[in-house]
């Protein structure tokens, strides 16, 4: 210890000598104003930008970033089994959380928390029935496009959807959706869930919060080529792009009676051999924790791709392929600086593309050119959200 103290003093003496050399003569130092005492203040946020993004970080938070500068704007509490969402008007962040009164035991509590997007102050906590608990499952929760309703997937293990009136700040009802899971909101008036038999269950929610359930016939082979949970949506148009493990894309107009389009295939649209369900069929396939993003302004679909066999649907990707969803053609391929597990894209006219590694990094890219603008290395998780203003 004594030796350590001595070396510290020596270091401080050297630093002081250096400082006096820089700051000049005693008279020059006297001419500088005396630094004033400071008050502690709290930062606030500007109006929400389309270039903000919200990755899951570490094991206990979502961290809000400005994609233009790669700087942190603030933090929202939320662990691996939480769900986060931006309100469509850009004024509120919602985070659904589950906790136990005494850490790993005690009474369980489930809440939907509302944070003011200007101050990040916690403004409301709505008590929930037990949510479905799964690691990083973005489609476990979503909001209606008018910002009136939140829909949360429950699993106990019987499955259902809890409907929350965000204006009134309370749960309205829980709708049983046996054999079905996840939330894909319509343009207005409800949501659909994917079902284990390859179909959809559709839950119409009227202005009073009353629910009416309808079903459609199976349209995909859930046994042999299931649809990804992370299939992307266009909230404004109420369109889902249901994408299977082999890369078949079912563009679906959601509603009480959904319209399911003829499927096209990611590999074929790129002029590549069609990926099959063969366990030794090496082909380009989508995969990862958050393998898709949809850019509404350009109607472009972003898919995180890798070369692999069937059952590699969770594998990281080394390229992002960008598709024109109208013409069903590949527009460009973006090679990534490192393998990534998740992607996200901003929803403005000059979009930023975010690619997330499994080891804590995020690459912020120009979506049009694929040029890396920033690299963030700060315990970034495998998923990120962007606002859809």
């Amino acid at each position: 210890m004594a030796g350590l103290r001595k070396s510290r003093w020596a270091a401080m003496a050297i630093a002081a000598a250096g400082l006096s050399g820089v700051s000049g003569t005693p008279s020059a130092r006297a001419a500088q104003p005396v630094l004033q005492a400071e008050q502690s203040t709290v930062a606030t946020l500007p109006t929400m930008s389309s270039h903000w993004f919200l990755p899951a970080t570490g094991s206990e938070s979502y961290t809000l970033y400005n994609g233009d500068t790669a700087q942190i704007l603030g933090t929202l509490p939320g662990d691996l089994i939480s769900n986060a969402a931006f309100s469509p008007d850009g004024k509120t962040f919602y985070v659904a959380v589950t906790m136990w009164a005494r850490g790993d035991h005690g009474p369980r509590e489930d809440f939907l928390r509302a944070y003011d997007a200007h101050t990040l102050a916690l403004v409301k906590e709505i008590e929930l029935p037990p949510r479905a608990l799964a690691v990083y499952k973005i489609q476990n929760m979503d909001l209606s496009q008018d910002g009136h309703w939140a829909y949360i997937f429950d699993m106990s293990p019987a499955t259902g959807i809890t409907v929350i009136d965000l204006k009134a700040g309370k749960v309205v009802r829980t709708v049983d959706t046996p054999g079905c899971a996840l939330v894909f909101p319509w343009k207005s008036g409800g949501l659909s869930s994917l079902c284990g038999d390859g179909s959809l269950t559709n839950v119409a929610v009227d202005a009073s919060g009353a629910a009416k359930v309808s079903h459609v016939a199976p349209f995909f082979d859930a046994n042999n080529d299931p649809v990804f949970e992370q299939s992307p949506i266009d909230r404004h148009a109420g369109i889902a792009f249901f994408i299977t493990y082999t890369g078949k894309v079912f563009e679906t107009s959601l509603g009480a009676t959904p319209t399911i389009g003829t499927p096209w295939t990611l590999s074929a649209a790129a002029g590549q051999p069609v990926a099959t369900t063969g366990v030794q069929d090496v082909a380009w396939r989508p995969g990862g924790k958050e393998p898709f993003a949809y850019q509404r302004a350009t109607r472009q679909l972003y898919a995180l791709m890798h070369m692999g066999t069937y059952w590699t649907h969770k594998r990281e990707g080394n390229e992002i392929w960008v598709y024109d969803t109208t013409a069903h053609t590949l527009l460009r391929r973006i090679a990534l600086p490192a393998d990534c597990v998740g992607i996200a894209v901003s929803q403005d006219q000059h979009p930023l593309l975010y690619a997330l590694t499994g080891e804590g990094k995020a690459f912020v890219m120009d979506a049009a050119s694929g040029k890396v603008l920033h690299t963030i290395d700060a315990r970034i998780g495998g998923i990120a959200l962007t606002p859809d203003l």
């Binding site: 094991s59 035991h105 369980r108 499952k137 019987a158 046996p178 899971a181 284990g196 030794q280 059952w311």
Partner: protein
């Protein structure tokens, strides 16, 4: 907050669903497929356990995982039973391949996988029972596995490995995952 335990509420919900079974068959199917307890004797898992030894397939196309799987070290992600596991191996946390670490509680229900044993060439049904009720095991990154042979989305929960499979335990807090043999896959 309800004063009922999660287990009580789970039981109540199951009973209610069973009572309305004509419209809830899929719930029965889902829960049944996932249950490892002997309460439902007609379950696929139970059938697998009772099945006679199935012949070893002579010409079988193996997955990448199956080609590389080993049978000697159950604390590694490439151990053959870990073909569809997502989580921390309890064997790295003070437990074992079918043993929860001290203080944790095994979930009575689980997701299941079908994995091939390289020693005998047979496929077995594996119950990936989570151990619950203790904060997440902090072990080496090598013990955090995420494999996906036959792994399905959450709308096929019995084969989905992202779910916190801590239903029916005192708390649903995740600690680590085990990989118990249920029986030979038919």
């Amino acid at each position: 907050m309800s004063s009922l335990s999660l287990f009580d509420r789970l039981g109540e919900k199951l009973v209610r669903n069973l009572a309305e079974f004509s419209s809830r068959r899929s719930v029965l199917g889902t829960v049944g497929a996932a249950m490892a307890a002997p309460a439902f004797p007609v379950l696929p898992v139970a059938r697998a356990a009772e099945a006679n030894a199935a012949p070893v397939p002579s010409t079988q196309t193996l997955t990448d995982f199956e080609r590389k799987a080993q049978s000697t070290d159950p604390t590694k992600c490439d151990y053959w039973r870990h073909c569809a596991i997502d989580g921390l191996l309890c064997g790295c946390c003070g437990g074992g391949i079918h043993t929860c670490p001290p203080g944790a509680e095994p979930s009575p229900v689980s997701w299941i996988g079908t994995c091939r044993n390289p020693d005998d060439g047979r496929s077995y049904v594996i119950a990936y029972r989570d151990c619950c009720g203790r904060t997440t095991c902090q072990t080496s990154a090598d013990c955090h596995c995420n494999t996906s042979d036959h792994e399905m989305p959450i709308y096929r929960p019995q084969a989905s490995n992202d779910i916190i499979w801590c239903f029916g335990t005192q708390t649903a807090v995740y600690h680590c995952s085990t990989a118990a043999i249920i029986g030979q896959a038919g």
